[in-house]
Amino acid sequence: MFALVDCNSFFASCEKVFRPDLDGKPVAVLSNNDGCIVARSPEAKPLIPMQATLYSVQDLVKHGKLHVFSSNPVLYKDMSRRVIQTLKHFSPEVEQYSIDEAFLGLHGFTKADLTDYGHKVHTTVKQWTGIPVSVGIAKTKTLAKLAAHGAKRYPNLNGVLDFGTLADPDAVLANIDVGEVWGIGRNLKAKLNSMGIKTVLQLKQADERLIKKTFGILGLRTVLELRGTACFPMEPVAAPVTMRIVSRSFGHLVTELSDIKEAVATYTTRCAEKLRADGLLAGHFTVTIRTSYYRAENQYAAARSVQLDPPTHDTAVLIYEAMQLAEAAFTPGYEYLKAKVIATDLTPVGEVQGSLFAAPVDTEKRDKLMQTMDSLNRKLCPDAVKFGALGLKPTWAMRSDYFSQRYTTHWGELPTVKVWQMVKPTSTRLSCKPVR
């Protein structure tokens, strides 16, 4: 048996935990760069569509009918960690599937306990972390995912749906679009539709040979999972990292090489920090820049890479290479929107053999420099100490005008509380609103 625990409107829920004044109010979270809406609280869902631009909702925001937040990934990651930590109290097998979803392995539970157990998970996660979750329970991961969807959609279930308790599961599956099935994206859905398969039930009852022939073994497994045969086991260990990417959109369109180089140098610095934090060296480094996809004309994209010999996580070396790659990729006359740096060919520190051809570098000294930079930047603020290539006053920086605090990871940004005072009743009727 499996359970899927899915956090409801996760990013918006994270923002609400520390803001009781937003209880019951519509909250939306913007993508990186305040581009468009990527998360909506239940109250915001009827007001605005997903992917709505900030521009299109600005009237609601101005009149206080919608509260928006810039993406606060540090907060979301920490809250996600807390949810997973809580789930580990419920099962030894926890597989984090995304930032807001996790599978639990439920071996050894008797059928009768399962719904109760789901409610316990639901209540405890909410109590401990403040995050509301939906729990789907079923014989297979694919069915557990569908059950979690159902638990979210029907409030009378109180956040938990045990698929095994349904009187007529097929009648339910007949009412769910095949596109809702785990692993079936837009393309697969179109193909299934063209074969006359529109509902989950139709997929469940599809001909095995036909499915295998058209969609391969993975498609067949999905069908078997819908029939209750578990084909996707728990995968508690995260796959080893094969690349490190830092990619952002600029705050506005950028035309100058100097601005692009500053941005690329900054992303490279982040990337090098990530590599050092994970004890990895990069053997290959790529820089890509591009214009907006949403423009009909004057589009441009370019990528340039370099082999690093010996592999390194030294910020200075990586910036030096990145600057050359950025210059090589740059063509004047375009309005650039986004840059990306990608470190690949990663090896753990200590497993790298010395190079035959490269000049020896005093690595011990360099490592010390990097360690000192990392610890200063951690203590003071990001980029307190940095390389000159990053620029002093970036003009390309991301927009994040609605940033909330990093409530759980920075001493200077903790939630604040007032000392409660009894408001003495007065003879005249004054409204006693708390002063903000």
């Binding site: 109590q127 401990w128 939630p415 604040t416 007032k418 000392v419 708390p434």
Partner: protein
């Protein structure tokens, strides 16, 4: 001749995290702000260790949401409800307990 290091007697040094945080997933730090309130054991600037997994009881120091703001107060059992002393349910509105203050850290 020096004394041998007694290998089996080595213990870990004392860790305040261990001492103050019993349930890391449910523990949050908060800061007290505002003016000193006479007769209160909580001061502005105090660092609170708030544990959401603890169940508030009669006499607990808690952080609660009152009128949309987080406030720290002591609650007592009154007609089956945990409320601050003298609280009139209905007239004074709702209080929603956010978490129980497990420890209070004060710089002196």
């Amino acid at each position: 001749m020096g004394f041998p290091v007694p290998g089996d007697a080595i213990e870990q040094s004392l860790d305040l995290n261990h001492h103050l945080i019993h349930n890391p997933a449910a523990t949050f730090f908060m800061r007290v702000e505002g003016d000193m309130v006479a007769g209160q054991d909580v001061h502005p600037g105090d660092l609170l260790v708030v544990d959401r997994s603890l169940v508030a009881q009669d006499g607990s120091l808690v952080v609660a949401a009152i009128a949309g703001t987080l406030q720290i107060l002591r609650v007592e059992q009154h007609q089956g409800q945990l409320v601050p002393p003298g609280w009139q349910r209905g007239t004074d509105g709702d209080i929603d307990i956010w978490g129980v203050v497990a420890h209070l850290i004060r710089k002196v």
